[in-house]
């Protein structure tokens, strides 16, 4: 039927189809709907841009072509351009930034030094209370300031949180951590 609607059928075949369409109501309806669809699509042939819309097309083409054909800068030039686009802060601002970074480093360093475990060779168990029916223990070497803050956090964690992260009701131990 599409070939018939497009006029692609040979003459004898087209006549046969025409006779059939005259007798078959379904095919007649199909053919009419196809015909109206073609008429509707023909509306698009009348869509046109405004009168002056493409007047500057050639100028725009030359502008875009110039950009496309411009030689690409090398790696070092691109790097330099990036710094030029993002100017470095002024000397005064840079000085403040550097000072702030230095202060932050000192505080962190001091913080690390302040966190020390007692100088005892005994192994300490950091048992987590309230976490029945199972218990998580972490054994840490006493002479190393290793993860003391995490143990403290575990001690202070509310029960309902620990119960939520509880697994099967078996006792298990975290292997000791040696550094």
């Amino acid at each position: 039927m599409h070939d018939f609607a497009d006029g692609r059928l040979a003459e004898p075949v087209a006549r046969q189809v025409q006779r059939h369409v005259a007798e078959c109501s379904d095919c007649r309806v199909f053919q009419q709907r196809e015909h109206r669809l073609q008429q509707l699509l023909a509306v698009k042939r009348h869509e046109k841009p405004g009168a002056a819309y493409l007047d500057n097309f050639l100028g725009e083409f030359h502008r875009r072509l110039a950009v496309e054909m411009a030689p690409q800068p090398g790696f070092w030039q691109q790097l330099g351009d990036r710094f030029h686009r993002q100017p470095l802060p002024s000397f005064r601002l840079g000085y403040l930034h550097a000072l702030g970074a230095a202060v932050a480093l000192v505080l962190i360093w001091r913080g690390l030094v302040a966190i020390e475990l007692p100088a005892s060779s005994e192994r300490q168990d950091f048992s987590i209370p309230h976490s029945t029916p199972h218990m998580l223990t972490a054994t840490l070497p006493a002479d190393r300031a290793v993860l003391p803050l995490l143990a403290q956090v575990a001690l202070n964690t509310p029960r309902y949180v620990l119960d939520h992260i509880a697994a099967a009701p078996v006792r298990y131990e975290v292997a000791s951590i040696h550094f």
């Binding site: 509707l40 509306v43 042939r45 009348h46 083409f61």
Partner: protein, 219 residues
């Protein structure tokens, strides 16, 4: 250029009035030149010859791409890209087909790829409808069929039609635009989108079925 002209250009001597007059005579008006002549001149390095090709085919290419995108800003960008790509590849154009067929393929494929990547603008930006449509017998017949059942404005028809086309996939929309809107044959469409004629026919069949469902109110 003669040897004297070469030396003169290097020494930046201004040409004599006689030389300027001769150069003016040699400038050929290429408005009437055929595509093969223009392409040959472009391949020899004459960019001005390419301007004639751009002016000659910009509207036809714009129409094709616009029908597929229903957005005239996207259509403008894509046609510009097609002309730039064609210019950059002009030296490899072997003239096995016409220049228009070649650039048409470039434009259609770039449009399909652009739509598939989803980079098209997600709103319609429709062109106006030519007032000559009132004299189109197909349109008059269609309107006489529709209006007894319901009042319909031309803008409503245009929006519904473009909306239905946008609901098709990119490849189905392309074959409907090329065949039913622009009148290309199945063979031309198959060459443009690098598939068989059978594929074109099956896509056309499926697309028309979809459109009949989407535009049932007007059929």
């Amino acid at each position: 250029m003669t040897a004297f002209q070469k030396i003169a250009s290097k020494l930046k001597f201004s040409p004599s009035p006689l030389a300027e007059a001769r150069q003016a005579e040699q400038r050929i008006d290429l408005t009437e030149a055929d595509d093969e002549t223009l392409v040959a001149r472009v391949q020899d390095g004459d960019l001005s010859a390419y301007d004639y090709l751009v002016q000659r085919y910009k509207e036809r290419l714009y129409a094709t791409v616009y029908h597929m995108t229903s957005n005239h800003e996207d259509a403008n960008d894509l046609v510009q890209d097609a002309f730039i790509k064609a210019y950059k590849s002009i030296k490899s154009f072997k003239r096995e087909s016409s220049f228009y067929t070649w650039i048409y393929r470039i434009a259609v494929n770039r449009t399909i790829n652009h739509l598939k990547r989803g980079k098209n603008r997600q709103y319609f930006s429709l062109d106006d409808i030519d007032t000559q449509i009132q004299n189109d017998p197909d349109f008059v017949e269609l309107l006489s069929y529709i209006t007894p059942r319901r009042e319909v404005a031309l803008t409503e028809l245009q929006e519904k039609l473009n909306g239905a086309l946008q609901k098709l996939s990119e490849s189905h929309r392309a074959v409907v635009v090329m065949h039913d809107v622009q009148g290309l044959t199945h063979a031309d469409i198959a060459k443009a989108i690098h598939c068989s004629e059978g594929t074109v026919r099956s896509r056309l069949f499926y697309a028309r079925q979809q459109l009949q469902g989407l535009l049932a109110d007007y059929l």
